[in-house]
């Protein structure tokens, strides 16, 4: 499987995705209309607590649902120059968390250098590790040790505690290799009772349906992974699939687009709208461009400020006064118990 971009699929174009998303099943209100029906004039930003960096779209996997359209054929990568711009901002402003994502962020050649620098400037660093990178190549075998050395919070996708469902979404053999990687992480102390090394897993539905209750799924995952593979972890973060990029392609190709959008819209929850992650998270693209979230980054919807659109021009006040850019894909964040990079929100 290759990325939509490599295939020349028209859904690789963010403009085309936004056009598709404008069309909702008949009688379905747009996201903006739903907000105003609930007397929410707009989603307003709070002070930025989390800076999420996309270190590049290159990945060793090509998962079917990937909202980044990542894969081995993607070449976009954050340079050391942009990383230096980020470090300057970290020196001048305090954030609670630096969240490193991709692609596989570890494939960026400056990943380790950057983590070493950043870990002196910010108290909490998340690495969104896809697990299979750990055993993809001998040069990555020591990643668990490296994460431990820098007290990284490892957050890893495992769509289900069974092989069939996981491999269907993430590729053949991914489940077995993810289990091996989790055992290696447990081996250095991650996710175990006697350490503070935090290992969180991410669940997302393997198709056109909404996720269930986070606490119940966490119990299932803990029981099944412990009993079958002797694996432990801290929290399960439950995420809804947003209708963009490769998941949007799946929805359209399988004829599930209308049903899924209707489901998201019918499940609109004002409490989840109040807790959307773009309020206190800012996304930085591989080229330094600023976005309200990683999804807006993929849709190439930049932050609505004129003065602070790149990390090198970071202006906390201008960003605090911006309007968050929303469209119909945002229904994915506000359905049911809500969804964010930190799991359910309501």
């Amino acid at each position: 499987m290759t990325s939509l971009k490599k295939q020349g699929n028209q859904l690789a174009s963010s403009a085309f995705q936004l056009e598709v998303l404008k069309t909702l099943p008949s009688g379905t209100p747009s996201f903006a209309t739903t907000l105003s029906n609930h007397e929410i004039s707009s989603i307003s930003p709070l002070e930025t607590k989390i800076l999420q960096l996309n270190l590049g779209y290159m990945c060793n996997q090509t998962c079917k649902h990937c909202h980044v359209d990542a894969g081995p054929d993607r070449k976009e990568i954050m340079t050391r120059e942009v990383m230096n711009d980020v470090l300057s901002v970290l020196r001048e402003h305090s954030f609670q968390t630096l969240d490193l994502t991709g692609g596989a962020p570890e494939m960026n050649p400056d990943f380790r250098w950057f983590v070493e620098q950043a870990s002196q400037l910010v108290p909490h660093i998340i690495v969104r590790c896809n697990l299979t990178i750990i055993n993809a190549n001998p040069k990555y075998y020591d990643l668990p040790e490296f994460f431990k050395q820098h007290n990284i919070n490892v957050v890893s996708s495992l769509p289900f505690y069974q092989k069939k469902r996981t491999d269907r979404q993430r590729g053949n053999g991914v489940f077995d290799r993810s289990i091996d990687a989790l055992q290696r992480l447990n081996g250095v102390g991650y996710g175990t009772n006697d350490s503070n090394l935090q290992l969180d897993l991410v669940y997302n539905p393997m198709g056109a349906f909404l996720p269930g209750d986070q606490a119940t799924l966490e119990q299932d995952f803990k029981k099944e992974l412990q009993e079958t593979f002797d694996i432990s972890f801290n929290n399960l973060l439950v995420i809804t699939n947003l209708p963009i990029s490769r998941f949007l392609e799946f929805l359209l190709a399988s004829g599930n687009y209308d049903t899924y959008m209707t489901k998201l819209v019918q499940a609109f929850n004002p409490a989840a709208a109040a807790g959307v992650m773009c309020r206190d998270t800012l996304s930085v693209g591989w080229d330094g461009a600023l976005y309200d979230c990683d999804f807006n980054q993929m849709l190439e919807l930049p932050v609505a400020t004129t003065s602070s659109r790149n990390i090198r021009d970071f202006d906390a006040e201008a960003l605090l006064n911006r309007r968050i850019v929303t469209a119909n894909h945002c229904y994915g964040c506000t359905a049911g118990a809500g969804s964010s990079c930190g799991g359910q929100t309501a």
Binding site: K164, R165, P205, M206, F209, G212, D213, T216, D220, T262
Partner: protein, 111 residues
Amino acid sequence: MKKTYYDPADLAKFGDIAEYQKPLADSFFKYYGEVFQDGALSKREKSLIALAVAHAIQCPYCIDAYTTDGLEKGASEEQMMEAVHVAAAIRGGASLVHATQMMSKVDEVSM
């Protein structure tokens, strides 16, 4: 009348039954909602029971709805298939247990 008896789009129109008789529909949907809340049985257990019953009564709407619902509740494929086997076992067993009636009748009319 449409050319087929069943149309997946009709499932979404279930609520429309209130157009002809609102108070009864309202009572039914309220009761329905309460039945599926967590109680002595969890929401997922109830969803799997609903899936089994859907197969026993062979309702395509309910099979559609409770397959998705089972997935949403985190049920595995094995759990969903075992639920259907429960329905099949009870349906099959219900036929077979009546064989005792047939056997009694054979005794009754035989010399």
